[in-house]
């Protein structure tokens, strides 16, 4: 029978949640790497037993852990992330130049076809790649060096490269997003890059429609339709139908268009999910009600999903990498909160259950659908 493995990164360790295809009874394994911040854990699409985890702490820095048995055992692999050449400067919060400094890995994206190839999105923003299972990392410096880097600046959480999407139809095409620089695309496997932010409007910027500087929180795509992208920006939910060449707003009837994650249904490319958050100054659900919003029309028309979610006195946040879907039928949807709950829906979001409730603050959620 099919099963699912949910990989959860938290402020104090990693957890692996497993269930059979019914997704009713959950086994919780962990914490792994207790006491360390686990920004992200993700499995290889080419080998589901190959997992990569980003482990870090303020004391001891960055580590990368690798598992070859689905998370039962781990080994530390390479943790040297050296910028290519002279790092240069980006903008600091006050607009002054600030040297690029490596802080941590936010996101690990394994190759679609090779378990030993994995990309890492880091803070201060850059993209790294390993082709030997994480032992050695090389920067794809065409991104940071393409010209606009000196104008990038950190968001409140740091200047992080947090989203990496690989086009399944053309693995040479890679999309990434940076807070707060915007979205970028490479059509040559990461060698050269172009900003793809036309149509984004950010009122807090001196030029609201500038080529770079937008605080993109997350981008999602459906693998069958990689030219259609959905974006949760700092404010605004956006959509592109031309691989990021242009964007249009699809916030529609959302109660607030601020939020962090965005996801696409596994079998319905026009069904998307967001979690509206009241504002960038409050970071809590509106009215203390935790509501996932689903659009079945690719945006603009949204419905609140509330069954099984707390509808009073709930003031958790859902961070940008903390939502994922499985590929069972019906599609499962999962998200983790800063309050330590992981919620799952086995029916495309109609109803939700907390599958674990008292974890440390959840930083990331990924799901593997197992044969």
């Amino acid at each position: 029978m099919n099963g699912v493995r949910v990989l959860v990164g938290t402020r104090k360790g990693a957890f692996v949640l497993t269930a059979d295809g019914k997704r009713k009874q959950w086994d919780v394994s962990g914490p792994h790497f207790t006491g360390w911040e686990i920004y992200h854990v993700k499995g290889s699409p080419a080998d589901p037993n190959r997992l990569y985890a980003s482990q870090s702490s303020s004391w001891f820095g960055q580590l990368i852990q690798r598992s070859s048995d689905g998370g039962k055992t781990w080994e530390a692999v390479g943790n040297e992330f050296a910028y290519d050449g002279a790092p240069g400067t980006h903008q600091w919060y006050d607009g002054t130049p600030h040297p690029w400094e490596f802080k941590r890995v936010w996101h690990l994206e394994p190759s679609l076809s090779d378990p030993d190839t994995v990309y890492a999105g880091v803070e201060d923003a850059a993209l790294f790649r390993s082709a030997d299972g994480g032992k050695q990392w090389q920067e794809l410096s065409g991104l940071r060096g393409h010209g606009s880097g000196p104008h990038w600046q950190p968001g409140a959480g740091g200047m992080c490269l947090h989203t990496i999407l690989i086009d399944p139809a053309d693995p040479q095409r890679i999309f990434i997003a940076i807070s707060a620089a915007g979205a970028f695309r490479s059509d040559d496997g990461g060698g050269t890059w172009k900003p793809i932010n036309r149509g984004l409007r950010s009122e807090m910027m001196p030029n609201p429609e500038a080529e770079v500087g937008h605080c993109v929180h997350r981008i999602a795509m459906h693998p069958s339709r990689p030219s259609v992208l959905f974006m949760q920006k700092h404010w605004d939910v956006m959509r592109s139908d031309d691989a990021g060449e242009s964007w249009r707003e699809v916030s529609g009837n959302l109660p607030t268009d601020f939020g962090f994650p965005i996801e696409v249904h596994a079998h319905e490319p026009e069904t998307i999910y967001v979690v509206p958050i009241k504002s960038d100054s409050e970071h809590v659900p509106p009215g203390g009600k935790l509501r996932v919003y689903r659009s079945r029309t690719g945006g603009n028309e949204w419905e609140a999903l509330t069954k099984g979610l707390p509808q009073r006195d709930c003031y958790v946040n859902i961070l940008r990498d903390a939502m994922a879907v499985d590929s069972l039928d019906p599609c499962g949807v999962y998200f983790g909160t800063t309050g330590g709950q992981v919620y799952a829906s086995a029916d495309s979001g109609d109803g939700w259950d907390a599958i674990v409730e008292h974890l440390p603050p959840v930083l990331s959620v990924e799901v593997q659908t197992l044969p």
């Binding site: 004391w59 001891f60 820095g61 580590l63 943790n79 040297e80 050296a82």
Partner: protein
């Protein structure tokens, strides 16, 4: 023989219990001891000294013989008692954070 006591998280990472004993050839300094430590336990690379700067990470401290050696040069000789193995070099995670 040099004795090193690592903080809990680095003992866990290196899969060691108690002190680590190392043989160090030549001058016994912070740098030479840490180089020997990293050679024995490669997973510790970058966790005590920053990969790029090769300086002590800010929240890591070095103590020995009741003294804070954190601000000594990495190339200064460690106390005789550390060099002879009668006292351990303590690598300490600063008390900070939540």
């Amino acid at each position: 023989m040099i004795r090193i006591l690592l903080p809990y998280h680095l003992r866990t990472l290196a899969c060691v219990e108690g002190e680590v004993d190392l043989d160090v050839s030549g001058d016994v300094t912070q740098r030479s001891v840490l180089a020997a430590l990293e050679a024995r336990y490669p997973m510790l690379r970058g966790t005590i000294l920053d990969h790029q700067t090769q300086q002590r990470r800010p929240y890591v401290r070095f103590f020995a013989c009741q003294e804070d050696l954190s601000h000594e040069s990495l190339d200064s000789p460690l106390p005789e008692a550390v060099a002879t193995g009668s006292e351990p070099l303590l690598v300490v995670g600063a008390v900070a954070g939540g």
